[in-house]
């Protein structure tokens, strides 16, 4: 690593570089917490971080990852639909996945819950679950692909996000829909507007024909079959339509932000 560092960026102000790179590093306490073994999936993938030992390597890789965001946005075809499957293809049981154990998943009372809409929208009203359930419903059976590599096929029902964006008068020229979630660590994730307007991107209220169970994100999940699983937030409490890149729970820790499938 040391040799790599000296080869890569000669003449760069090391102090500035370190300062920039440090900003990119995840909170070590959070990482220790995760590595401590909250989730089954995390056990195999989070055992430390060698990359952060080399600031300039991390910096270079981050720049390339941003370049890859642009490449993927260019590859993304808004008219290309994710392949759909039949009922018989559904993976049963569909795996629970999170950075926390299933019993630690948010336990939300619909009475206390509202979906807040903020930012570049005409109507900033908060929505109750009852109101959202009245929106037109579509169902998709698509493949969920995890950043870890595994995949599972599920059936999700809800309303297309693009219809909802139209309903609340969102400025669809904005760059992102930024979602925030109810879990302890404040999961959040930005979704680029092109993907938010994709016909299969869905505000999901049902899994496999039944009200979304707690383990899959009750009361609302955003289902994005053109993205990796971690870009499909669960237990969603708010959406902000914004031109600012606000980062995300996993994105800030190094996962590629676009992560399109």
């Amino acid at each position: 690593m040391r040799r790599f560092r000296s080869l890569l960026i000669p003449g760069v102000d090391k102090k500035l570089l370190v300062r920039d790179a440090t900003k990119l590093l995840p909170d070590p306490a959070r990482r220790r917490f995760i590595a401590g073994g909250a989730s089954l999936g995390a056990l195999t993938l989070l055992t430390g971080c060698d990359v952060s030992d080399s600031f300039s390597a991390e910096n270079l890789l981050t720049q390339i990852s941003k370049f890859n965001d642009k490449v993927q946005a260019a590859i993304f075809n808004p008219n290309t639909l994710a392949p759909t499957y039949t009922e018989a293809d559904i993976t049963r049981p569909f795996p629970f996945n999170g950075y926390y154990a299933e019993e630690d998943a948010p336990d939300i009372d619909a009475e206390d819950w509202t979906f807040e809409v903020r930012g570049l929208v005409d109507n900033k009203k908060a929505w109750t679950l009852e109101e959202l359930h009245k929106l037109p419903e579509v169902t998709q059976i698509t493949r969920h692909i995890c950043v870890e590599g595994w995949s599972a096929i599920g059936s999700w029902s809800g309303t297309p996000l693009r219809d909802f964006l139209k309903l609340v008068g969102a400025d669809t020229r904005a760059k992102y829909c930024w979602f925030q979630c109810a879990d302890v660590d404040g999961y959040n994730s930005p979704l680029d507007m092109e993907t938010a307007l994709h016909p299969q991107t869905q505000m999901t209220f049902k899994f496999d024909g039944k009200i979304l169970p707690r383990k899959y994100g009750y009361p609302m999940k955003i289902r994005v079959p053109t993205k990796l699983g971690f870009k499909n937030p669960k237990y969603v409490i708010s959406m902000e339509v914004t031109n600012d890149y606000k980062g995300g729970y996993w994105e800030d820790q190094g996962y590629n932000s676009f992560s399109g499938s």
Binding site: T44, L45, L46, D50, S65, L81, G149, G254, N256
Partner: protein, 209 residues
Amino acid sequence: MTSISASDSRAVYPSAKVVQPVWVRIVHWVNAVAMIMMIMSGWQIYNASPLFDFTFSRSITLGGWLAGGLLWHFAAMWLLMVNGLVYLVLGFATGRFRRKLLPITPSGVLADTRAALTGKLSHDDLSTYNYVQKLLYAGIIVVGIVVVLSGLSIWKPVQFQWLTAVFGGYDFARYVHFTCMALIVAFLVVHVALALLVPKSLRAMIIGR
């Protein structure tokens, strides 16, 4: 193996003609670096969701954890792909592939395999590949193409869904990608071992002669 090196030690001092032109040497070593980064970061990614009942030791993986492995993998892929395209274009354009790798005949491969195993294969003329070399070098080019395409099919199973379908769907494509990696690693082991047994071939890949 030992008899091959024995015959090598009896070889006459090599002529001064260029065995490996400079473009071949450059793309070879760039490919070596890119391939090793891809393999080691790929092992890191594999560990997050293993296909088989084993994982790769942390000491031989690149990236430290999944996100690091992915960052390396999707950075080194550009080096691998651009360099690989340069190699393919120049290989065809200069006629090197045709000259060096063709023809490959089953009888030739059989005869040279037998000769290699009995220690009778000559390495006097490094500029001409024997049939076993021709088969392995042509074969690894094909594997290299398949590993890139299957990788793209896993990376973009929606946008490149036709490609993913070619590899039997997302889940099967992961096995294709893994198998190609295993073939490349197997090739690498043999390739490096033989290069060390016939050191002048290694020298030719460094200084050309």
